[in-house]
Symmetry: C3
Subunit: 475 residues, 3 copies
């Protein structure tokens, strides 16, 4: 594995360190600036909530078991694992971009957790001049970080860390606004985030990737391609692991914010069954469309997860176990066919370079999930939900809406999400073109060594001259 | 790592795509057929249980904390992680079979989860014309998937995915029947599945492997051997990870279905101590029998886990912490010696090609665990269990059985398990020989590229002619 | 990856197996001796506690939900995962020492869990002639194993397994004594173990490493260096994984032993925010001090975790979310600068060869965490804690101490910890020099094949003669 890296390891810093050094200042400055700003905002606004504060909690008359922490924390830990292990490693499939995939995931998520605590806090739990935080804040922050990482997947390899931090700054704010409009203003249900997380994150990233379109990257496409297809390790070792951790913890993801009791229980069950069906349909379709009927690991690693996305909205509803299987089967099918047939068109016709195929895993299944939510909402009856209607559809239970009108609101929520994501991604793309953010030149895309001290590099420098092709864009 | 793969990457499809394509149809057809069938059965029979259904749950008068979900879900998630991360990666030690090891684990487990929901549902929770599912269904389904993956370990590399799906179809049904006979008809205790999971899965797989014996595989034995011993990465990277996730979550595995309160607590503690002892005895024995006293990573990766298997039956009983240490120590010893001395005999004398050594990790420790259960059951007294006797041994508490007769029933349960597993494995082996299931020829065993698009292959085709040795069995 | 290993794979056993065999006896003998001794002590002293024993639990009048198991077990499982997956893989960065890093972690931790159950049991829960064990015993044992693994990090590659077991024997005992002095005698608060785990483990290991100083290892320093920097896989694949599992589960680590209700909730929240801040400051500082402003993965993998260490003492207190960010930011900064500037001095001036840089991740952040604890304790008021003061600072709540005197006790606790760790490490270092423990010669440091059957070795022997440089120290 060190061989190909070693062969291409030489870099330009030996000749022109000053520009390189100057080029790298944006990242530390932006980190310190953003951390300083959030720290000040935390000092002014953020306080423990009544379950977390020593005085407030003991002032009440609670049993320890009443603390919502104990119902939410196991799910939260699974969500946290998904965000960092799952998304991080799922993107670690590019052979020479592993440090960046995992490292920038880490950086983006850490910043998003702080920043979305503030943005979501202002929108959802601001009272008495303060944001009050507890286990729900952590779940919501991790959800928001998930959306940012989905967008990261669309621009993976073509953006520097300073650009990515700015993207996160914008996206976290818009994520909070979109969620607030859907959940609080429109009364839309979307516990597992088919709309607010997957659809939003995917289309924000795809439009952003469209704005940052690099026509010359076509030429190095074969490099991405060969990278993609030349390394067993990266795919099976890390990316498979990402897939499996996402797969096993997705029931916790969808159920983390749902109502306690039957709500969480049902959500878990629906997601579990949906994932088994998307796995089977992915294997079936991958073999059907594969060369000589052979399976493609990229399909398995991604499309098998579409079952989790597609029930993000409906899994807390009375979807029925059969409904979960059907939705999962559909999602696996659509996602696999997307990888096979639509991704090439997306780049050639729509000029969207979707590095990780987020359109197939999050975009289409997210929209599909919103539509499944519309359908299941429209079918909701007092009979099927009983007294549980209050916790799933409070506005229907209180007769403020009919099932049909609630379904229309759900559909409108999808429309709002697509609009905000597209506008946001467009604005974000323009922002990221600002010159001081130092986008990597085409020749340095998908390369760790632009941003990282990479093993084997020192030896390379000693061994041979720099390659011209790697210098021309640095001059 | 790409080097050896690249060197052997050429395949035959360039010359005879039609037969190759035809050969690959069984998998998608079987996937779609099985998924269609389970979906229909789900639609007709499967319903949410009273803790999962919105109307039923809210119809009762519960606090949310009463939902069994909250007591079982953290354990379930650990079990789920063990099945997918643990078993999947523990099998990923064959250098050129990594895609298949992880991928087919995924496929088999996903199907087994659906199918065992049905089979176990019909046997255990069928009333009012419906199967009622909740968190216990998921735990039981994952346990069943575990047994299927144990059997997969015995035939790893020598069976195609269509064969494996058929194996799962049969094994899941028999697993349910065996469990029903033991737990419901015979009143046997086996929470952690020393008998129902480990013994059953191991001997089903071993007998099946015996029926599928490939004498010519001996010749390519050195290939398996060299594969086995040529790659640091696969062993330490993925397989070690499988080991560690199995090790840390085994206490949850054994305790997941036990009675709430002291039952789960005690089971966890016993399993935890048993595993520490099997780890120490594995290190001691591996060094003692090793060449020049050196340790063998294969022993550590497998035998260290035998402590979890051996207390599968007894860990919910009053085994005592010392008893747990003693059982674990014994299991680690037996398992390590099995790898060193018995596995070679198993193949040469008994014609059983046990790829992963499941006889050492699941077979012998499973039988040993059943016997430990017989012993601890026979020693049960009203004094030691107090009022807790009702939840561990209800039939003894209700004076329907003496401790000795319960112990005899435990022993009979082991006999039933071994019989059903052997007969099932024999029948399964005959089924898997059906020609349309397309078993891989000897020369393509332990090779991913028969079933998967493998990185580096395209370049190979361009670079050189096909190797004759790889073509001869395809003609 | 097999290439460099294969090139250096020849070993001496072909010529002088008897001495090699003799050299390997200490490990099995020590394993069996220690396991036998702990088993006897378990038989005599260890019993289930009232929540784990069938008779005792059912004798009381409890709801199952009252069993502390359900509040502690999810956190425990995260701690268990951190100890085995986190510490184990974080140390797996040496290319030719991966088997040993992961394997010896496993061995040491398994022994430490048993032995610390006894030592901590005697000190903390010994009554009626017995040690009573339950979920708290497992948490405490895992904490102790964590300290042992931190010390292991300081001597990684330079000590054999028999030496390490002896180190664990001593360190576990001293860990128990130090913890007893701090928590029980001095009434110091240290839930997450900034002092008892991180400071103690780090300085015990560093002093021990000082006593075992190998001046000739300097020469092979470049080997360690080149090993360190020559392999992408080890770093990103395994070590990154160690980092991420530590990062996501650290909130559970710090909160596992705190008081139920608001205590655990607050601890989780503080640790979560502290880690986000240490991640951002690590990225900023790593780029600032890096060559050409590039990031160093070693900093990210380690310093990003310092935020968990630094709030080990204070996270259960009313640190405030801002305080958590500030502490985390400081810890990431100090730790990154330590790797860059202090580690080289530590070896050249202080003759401490700190293989994993535990001084930067556990030593300095641990001391810093103790000081943060002193500060936050000194600021404690009845107003801020309300009735919760009783559970965080019982001695202040009962007016036995003022906040200032409690803060002085905290400071004294740090002094006691540093003293005991240093004396213990010194004594331990002398013990480990005993000849029959068979320390590896300088030329075999950082080499798996001394202790393990290593893939590729057999072929090497057939292919070529032994290298002289590898034989000279074995003669």
């Amino acid at each position: 594995m060190s061989a190909p890296r070693a062969g291409a390891g030489a870099s330009a810093h030996g000749r022109n360190p000053p520009p390189a050094a100057r080029r790298r200042l944006p990242l530390p400055l932006l980190c310190l600036l953003l951390q300083g700003a959030t720290a000040i905002l935390f000092a002014v606004f953020v306080r423990y909530n009544h379950e977390t504060d020593a005085a407030l909690w003991h002032g009440g008359n609670h049993s320890n078991a009443d603390n919502e922490f104990y119902f939410r924390y196991p799910s939260f830990q699974d969500v946290h694992t998904m965000v960092f292990v799952g998304f991080g490693f799922l993107m670690a499939f590019l052979q020479r971009y592993g440090f960046s995939s995992v490292g920038f995931t880490f950086l983006l998520a850490a910043f998003a957790l702080q920043w979305s605590t503030l943005t979501q806090g202002f929108l959802h739990s601001f009272h008495g001049g303060h944001i009050h935080v507890g286990v729900e804040s952590m779940i919501n922050a991790d959800f928001c970080a998930g959306a940012v990482l989905i967008s990261f997947g669309a621009v993976l390899g073509k953006t520097g860390p300073a650009q990515l931090l700015l993207m996160a700054l914008l996206e976290v704010a818009l994520f909070g606004i979109n969620e607030f409009v859907l959940l609080s203003l429109l009364g839309v249900k979307d516990a597992g985030g088919s709309m607010t997380i997957h659809t939003f994150g995917a289309y924000f990233g795809l439009v952003l990737s469209r704005v940052l379109y690099r026509p010359q990257l076509e030429k190095s496409k074969h490099r991405q391609g060969s990278i993609y297809h030349s390394d067993l390790f990266a795919m099976i070792g890390e990316a498979c692991q990402g897939t499996i951790f996402l797969w096993i913890f997705w029931p916790s993801f969808n159920s983390a914010p749902t109502s306690l009791g039957d709500g969480q229980h049902r959500t878990v069950l629906n997601t579990y069954y949906s994932l088994t069906a998307s796995t089977l349909s992915t294997f079936a379709l991958s073999a059907l469309v594969g060369r000589d009927g052979r399976l493609d690991m990229v399909h398995i690693q991604n499309a098998a997860l579409a079952g989790g996305v597609v029930v993000g909205t409906a899994s807390e509803m009375m979807l029925t176990p059969f409904g979960a299987l059907a939705a999962g089967f559909l999602a696996g099918t659509v996602s696999t066919l997307g990888y096979k047939f639509f991704t090439p068109i997306l780049e050639s016709k729509f000029k969207v370079q979707d590095t990780c195929g987020v359109h197939n895993l999050h975009g289409m299944p997210g929209v599909l999930g919103a539509l499944v939510g519309v359908l299941v909402t429209g079918l909701a009856t007092h009979e099927a939900y009983g007294d549980g209607l209050q916790s799933v559809f409070p506005l229907i239970a209180e007769s403020q809406r009919t099932a049909t009108s609630q379904a229309m609101f759900q559909l409108f929520g999808l429309f709002v999400t697509l609009t905000l994501a597209s506008v946001g991604g467009g604005v974000g793309g323009c922002l990221l073109k600002l010159p001081f953010l130092d986008a990597p030149p085409d020749s340095q895309c998908y390369e760790d060594r632009v941003y990282w001290e990479v093993p084997g590099e020192h030896e390379d420098e000693a061994q041979g001259p720099l390659k011209e092709e790697e210098l021309d864009t640095q001059a």
